[in-house]
Symmetry: C2
Subunit: 327 residues, 2 copies
Amino acid sequence: MGIRIGIYGYGNLGRGVELAIRQNPDLTAVGVFTRRDPSTVKTLTGLPVYSVEEAKKMQDQIDVMILCGGSATDLPKQTAALTALFNVVDSFDTHANIPMHVQNVEKVAAAAKKTALVSAGWDPGMFSLARLYSNSMLSVGKDYTFWGKGVSQGHSDAIRRIEGVADARQYTIPVQAALESVRNGENPHLATADKHERECFVVAKEGADLARIEQEIKTMPNYFADYRTTVHFISAEEMKEKHSGLPHGGVVVRTGKTGLNEEHSHVIEYSLKLDSNAEFTASVLVACARAVFRLNEGGVYGCKTMLDVPPTYFSMKNRDELIKELL
Amino acid sequence: MGIRIGIYGYGNLGRGVELAIRQNPDLTAVGVFTRRDPSTVKTLTGLPVYSVEEAKKMQDQIDVMILCGGSATDLPKQTAALTALFNVVDSFDTHANIPMHVQNVEKVAAAAKKTALVSAGWDPGMFSLARLYSNSMLSVGKDYTFWGKGVSQGHSDAIRRIEGVADARQYTIPVQAALESVRNGENPHLATADKHERECFVVAKEGADLARIEQEIKTMPNYFADYRTTVHFISAEEMKEKHSGLPHGGVVVRTGKTGLNEEHSHVIEYSLKLDSNAEFTASVLVACARAVFRLNEGGVYGCKTMLDVPPTYFSMKNRDELIKELL
């Protein structure tokens, strides 16, 4: 039956994990663990649903628990607590707090002889790997990250809190001229606001003052004031039809120099274009669960990140196949 | 003085390694080893030059030997032989023979408690890593590799062998329409000739029959006949001025599907744009030398590839810094 995976939390990410496991024949989903009343939760593929309290009784049925809670309040507590019982994977993405998170989980994992892989996904995650490799291969150079085109939930929520707004969706979009300048090796100095623009789709409540809403959006400090911001008012129908997906993506670029007088330029670019942010992140977590299982089997305990894992560990295929087919 | 590196072979790649080491303060170049008379070889930065025979007497002065010979005849013999004496890195790139090469080197390395990292560079190498990660993260999908824009030495040499040709340079160029189709997730079926076109710059000898040369190029089996091929006749001066560099690069794309009914598409793209093929490859080999040294220090012996190495091992920075800065 392969590697047995538990799914802890069942929002967008948990559903993505459920679906991703189906695409990986060496993995089996054991079930979903929820804080809600399990009888009220129906899974997409008919997976059994358990209360989070039942998890600790199921240690011998689960090889790796994938934690699908949020970074704000869930994971800072859950990851360390569950690492005492299970090998785990999480997607903790509050960048500034990652070092502390790694330290906290490390203590528990080492003592329990469990393996945890934290802050997995695409940023942090695949983008971090892209930065690490390109920095290692081009020691003299400059890094750039562009996010988008994609929906920012935080910015969408900020617009929804404005009086007169019924619904909103905000897309973060890389500024093409800035991206081209980077790709051409011009090494521009770019603040975040120079690299991104913000496009907002807003459904206004009946009779609302559109000019005031647009003004409030465009002058909102931190979120919009520093950015080139466009506001479109649309109907609820159009919102549902054209903006219900949660696409995202981005580009990591390193430009570097080599040569006797640094006369040669090189550009390394890694980019993602994702129809579903949650489903792609889930696919990454699932590959990480495979790696965690193998690390633990090999006696490698403690808190790891994607930066620590030998790449072959993520793959369904064995090393001989990978060398033959990919190298 | 850091990790002590020997450079075995002093062509374009060896010179690139010499220069790359200068950009990595934790590495020191010990010297160059050559089959030529050392007194006839002058290094770019004044490194000492030794005869290859002297290498075996210098085991205690060199932590990692970077082999800069060719894949056709040098590396199949040199890598295994030198692994008996040193930790080594090579760039063996005859794709079909890599599994056998790994096996041959493995035996020697394990017996000598040395660490070898073979087939490093960008393809095989960074492109292989890009394929491995994207395949692991998107289990259901399709892979594409485009090479170029870049100089193909093999194709340039083939043109130079035609009667009446004084000099030639051939650029392999990705077909933009094919690349766009891939990027748009259309999953086209593409043969190598559908993905690339060939642009040739030729200096003809005086009085040569240009029409015949062009015809011979365009009908040359394997090399050109299947490809859209363009031929430009230029002067020796223009060749020297505009085509003396050896740029290269390429793009690895994986397109994949997720979702309940595979309704979401994702595109992962990794691309390189390199002014100097040899200098970038050398920069990769140098990061690999660092990794090899650390693996050997940690008691990991045998023949490795870039697919086997924990990414943090390639970096000058320590793990805490990498987690803080890149994750």
